[in-house]
């Protein structure tokens, strides 16, 4: 479903999605990495716990929220991959960050 175009010869970076190492083209989004990794979803909604994954890929639907490099609730389709980036499932509500 998500085959790369044959003429794309961009450098590859390595990220981890839920612990699996995934190699993705430089400039791809973190949501792209989630899709390439074959995950059907990357978050559980805060109210009903429903599984959701990247959908609109343009910053509108908020269904691709993920924890990226330790920061909760990031819109993964709006974040470009970086070498070594750690993308984790967003499980419901984030913590409020009170020490």
């Amino acid at each position: 479903m998500f085959r790369r175009r044959p003429d794309a010869a961009t450098p590859i970076v390595s990220v981890t999605v839920e612990g699996s190492e995934i190699r993705v083209p430089e400039g791809a989004s973190a949501a792209g990495a989630v899709l390439l990794a074959g995950f059907p979803s990357i978050r559980d909604t805060p109210v009903n716990g429903t599984a959701r994954g990247p959908y609109c890929m343009m910053g509108v639907c908020f269904d691709c929220l993920a924890e990226i490099d330790g920061v909760a609730n990031r819109q993964s389709c709006m974040v470009a991959v970086k070498p070594g980036m750690v993308i984790r499932r967003q499980r419901g509500k984030r913590a409020a960050g009170i020490e």
């Binding site: 805060p46 109210v47 609730n73 984030r94 913590a95 409020a96 960050g97």
Partner: protein
């Protein structure tokens, strides 16, 4: 022509709470709702059921607000049972925070005045010092000196409330007429005819609850409703795990986890635009109160217009010239929903406002100027 027992103009929180109450009193009621061209304060409000600061210097208003707060659990339970919509009422009391000793001292004086003015009716409050507050409210910032607490306050999902009132109204036999304006009004004592497109609606009772629209409508019925728009801006954060056990005045966390941050008071006429400087000021105070908020994403923000009487207190009247015509005007459609559904509507159904509402008449503004 369609004949009703009562017509309510205005499908926001005030109008639909009254219409719901009238339908429950077995009046055949029509609810006319203008549509999305209206200013729709009921879709933009903050969702507090807030009693602790209402009615300073006006014991009748304090009492009316408290009556509403007391009716709220009954209204929420009834709406839940009849419509299946849980409006999410939590009424564990509320805290208003004070930044600096001066604010705290002023607040103490104000709360004591509220208690004095309540007389035998009573007014429970406590001034909480910083340490006690910090134990109650995780994440409290050092800028907070203290706060005032009363047991009457709470909060609710006001969009679910509006939905539940509409659904409950229709379920009790009410006729909801959306996207209608009043093109003409035939007005006689206890005989009102409203033209709206090809339809004519008639009823011996009419309630004007059209929010800012009341200012123009009222004159047609021999009434006065000098309300003006006052803008408030609200910020909403991403959802977090539950932080606070109670609402905190201009801060509250919804059941779903969003933190709502309010709210400005701006005199800008009929302008629902947003201003970055105002949003910044609102956010700044919130972060002073709770520094962790600075780390949260703002996911929504909006402005809405309060329906503000000249002295900030509600206006309720029955027309002397055209008995059967009533007005209800206030900026607290959520807080006062309990009173509107469970007290005001029965008064309208019975045909006269209770003497407790006399001080709310717009006649209070007709004071001759001193020479």
């Amino acid at each position: 022509m369609t004949q009703f027992d009562a017509i309510v103009i205005g499908g926001g929180l005030v109008g639909s709470a009254i219409a719901y109450g009238l339908a429950r009193e077995n009046l055949k009621t029509a609810l006319i709702d203008e549509g999305d061209v209206a200013f729709r304060a009921s879709r933009g409000n903050f969702g507090l059921v807030w009693a602790q600061s209402k009615g300073l210097g006006a014991p009748h208003y304090q009492r009316w607000t408290r009556l509403s707060a007391e009716e709220w659990p009954r209204l929420a339970a009834e709406l839940g049972a009849r419509t299946g919509i849980d409006v999410g009422l939590e009424q564990p009391g509320g805290v208003q925070l004070c930044l600096g000793e001066e604010e705290f001292a002023e607040r103490r004086v104000m709360m004591e005045q509220m208690r004095t003015e309540a007389g035998n009716f009573g007014f429970d409050y406590r001034m909480l010092e910083r340490d006690e507050l910090a134990a109650m409210l995780p994440g409290l910032g050092w800028a907070v000196t203290g706060g005032s607490w009363t047991p009457y306050d709470g909060h609710v999902n006001s969009l679910y409330l509006l939905h539940a009132l509409h659904k409950g109204f229709v379920e009790r036999g009410g006729t909801y007429i959306p996207n209608r304006t009043v093109d003409y009004a035939g007005v006689a004592p206890n005989d009102f005819r409203l033209g709206s497109g090809a339809d004519e609606l008639a009823a011996p009772k009419i309630v004007l609850a059209a929010g800012l629209g009341n200012a123009k409508l009222a004159a047609l019925f021999g009434l006065s409703a000098p309300v003006r728009p006052q803008r408030g801006q609200i910020l909403v954060t991403e959802r977090t795990e539950r932080v606070w056990p109670i609402p905190i005045g201009s801060l509250r966390q919804t059941l779903e986890g969003s933190i709502m941050i309010g709210a400005s008071e701006e005199e800008v006429g009929f302008d629902t635009g947003q201003k970055p400087e105002v949003m910044q000021a609102i956010a700044h105070r919130a972060v002073q109160c709770f520094p962790f908020i600075a780390e949260l994403q703002i996911v929504r923000a909006w402005a809405a217009l309060r329906v503000m009487p000249p002295d900030g207190k509600p206006i309720y009247d029955e027309s002397e010239r055209f008995p059967g015509a009533f007005t209800a005007n206030c900026h607290s459609g959520v807080t006062l929903a309990g009173a509107h559904a469970n007290a005001f509507a029965p008064m309208v159904a019975a045909g006269a406002l209770d003497p407790m509402l006399v001080p709310f008449s717009a006649k209070r503004f007709d004071v001759p100027q001193a020479a």
